[in-house]
Amino acid sequence: MSAKQNILGKLRKSLSGTTPLADNFDEALVTEPWSYPPEQRIAQLRKLMEAVHTELHLTTGQAWPQLLAQLLRERQLPSLLIAPGTPHGQRVVEYWQQHPGLPALKAYDRPVEEWKAELFNDTPASLTGTLGAIAATGSLIVWPTREEPRLMSLVPPVHFALLKASEILDNFYQVQQQHKWAEGMPTNALLISGPSKTADIEQVLAYGAHGPKDLVVLILEDQ
């Protein structure tokens, strides 16, 4: 008998004669306390994300590349990792072409194995899009793709994330339902709710544990 057969056999024996419990999931419990008027969603998101040291900026679909360039300069970041295959990656490339002298752009356009050392040691910042955000918990929703792979939002010490205001939803339940997550999950889906942190030493909160030390969210108010 295999371990699987043994385990399942024991469990089935323990349940013999019983019927599975009914599914009485009360969605009101995970939605009603966590619903917000549309105009308050940004404020709610801001409150929670700023409480964990996230930097948020309100900008527009037109103005964000300029703001991004300014933030990079202020932080004296020498380069930015982008996803050239995405519309927002393209916007960056175009803006950079029109404004010479900005920090260098790097593209995540090849398997990580081919440039792992550079990613780890010489990639100070990245820009990714998001699928939206969750006001109730102050979380960005990120589904890494071929164009925007997983490590983009993890390895560089500074992570810039673009968020369309219209894509901020109230709670995680609503996100799962509206986007029909149960019908198909990607290889990796993430909720990101701040820069990486730890309180493992004497409960003192320290940022920049293993992931980004800074998370900067650009909220596109008109999108």
Partner: protein, 274 residues
Amino acid sequence: MSELFYNAVPNTTRVAPPLPEPRQYPSEKPARVYLFGTCVVDLFYPEAGMDAIHLLEREGIRVEYPQEQSCCGQPAYTSGYTEQARQVARSQLALFAGDFPVVVPSGSCAGMIREHYADLFKDEPATLQQVQALAARTYELAEFLLNVCKVQFKDSGEPVKVALHTSCSARREMNTHLHGRALLAQLGNVERVEHNHESECCGFGGTFSVRMPDISGAMVADKTRALKESGAHQVLSADCGCLMNINGALEKQRETLRGLHLASFLWQRTGGGQ
């Protein structure tokens, strides 16, 4: 505990019982009640039992004290000697058969009857019915005075600061801390002070205190320190297990502070014994 009322096949996966509704109290005082004195009150704090009787009688209630009563069975139950606990519990059932309230001047013992007797008799349908009915008319003393007698105390004592310690299980099962606080709030000259980690266990836990004396000792040391630091002149509790633990430790530490049963304090403050 109360999660055992599952009627399905015995091995059915258990769901927690529904959230409890607030307890409904009778609108009028009963003409008579039983007093279940408990074994610790009987032998170590009998005056607290008498003061409970006095408080109830002053409300115009006749108090029956069945002489055959002994113990609720809790010490054996919490020690894992379920059969022995059942034997003792069974012997008490018939003594409180009349359809009127049973008042208990000790929180954890009231909790034993209210919350755990059903567990003891879960496999005996007829007895189970009997203990469920008993549980429904069993009250912790402070709860009974406050919510059934609706007492309105008039304080006749000098100004005093007191700290109230409530038995953990009673607090969690029956909110006795709220009842005790509400009664003390009626006494104009009594200031109730909070103590550090007030809701934390004093370390008694029945046989825990002798099975694990090191850990229990550390807990009661912290509890007595918090009580001393609270500035209270008097410690109050409505649970005699906790009182034995706290007073025994204070005495061993040669402290003068002592714990008094809430019933005795209430009786003394409101003109009792004069």
